[in-house]
Amino acid sequence: MKLFSNTINTLENALNYSSTKQKVIAQNISNADTPGYKVKNVSFKSELTEAMSTVTGKQTNSKHMAIQSSGRTGVTITTDRTTSYNHTGNNVDIDKEMSDLATNQIYYNAMIERISGKFNSLQTVIKGGR
């Protein structure tokens, strides 16, 4: 019996992405004046990275560290080293970061709202509408 649908899984992954994105935006904006800082980005490749994240190293000894592809499922952080916007070598576009911040906040709130709704409807169904 599967209680939690795929939608809930998708919403969870979306929330993970969004919260990582928030951390990255905070980091980028806080380093907007740092010389030589290169902007970070989050990419959300659900299918491929999810398939890859299941790859684990074989442990021949229980004391070995587990080898597995790093990063949480579907979310990877990349650094853009190709551009430079001013003489200090910094490439943070503060306007882009601020608009990303607003977008991300709304996206996160929407995802929370949806997952909350999902849980509530599950609760209602289980209690038989009482």
Partner: protein, 101 residues
């Protein structure tokens, strides 16, 4: 007007054919018991997961708030689902016990 008997009996036959591979009461009980055991184990697992997440949150470890909240919700929903199933089963049992033989 007459109803052709063979067709009726055919329906009858097909009906009995469907219910033919019936499970014995013992088997039904066994599979029900395993389902119950499985779901209770699931509840326990979900509760443990929620506890681990809550502990991490309290200790300030690397965990996201939404993950903690989702884990706790999942635990509470699996728990209430199981409780509801249990209530229904007990209700059915009591109904059977009250039956006039």
């Amino acid at each position: 007007m007459t109803i052709s008997i063979p067709s009726v009996s055919k329906v009858f036959q097909s009906n009995t054919a469907v219910s033919a591979p019936s499970t014995t009461p013992y088997e039904a009980q066994k599979s029900f018991a395993s389902v119950l055991k499985d779901s209770i184990e699931k509840v326990n697992e979900a509760q443990n997961q929620s506890d681990v997440m809550t502990g991490k949150l309290a200790k300030g470890e690397n965990v996201d708030l939404h993950q903690v909240m989702i884990a706790s919700q999942k635990a509470s929903i699996t728990m209430s689902a199981t409780i509801e199933v249990r209530n229904k089963v007990i209700e059915a049992y009591q109904e059977v016990m009250r039956m006039q033989v």
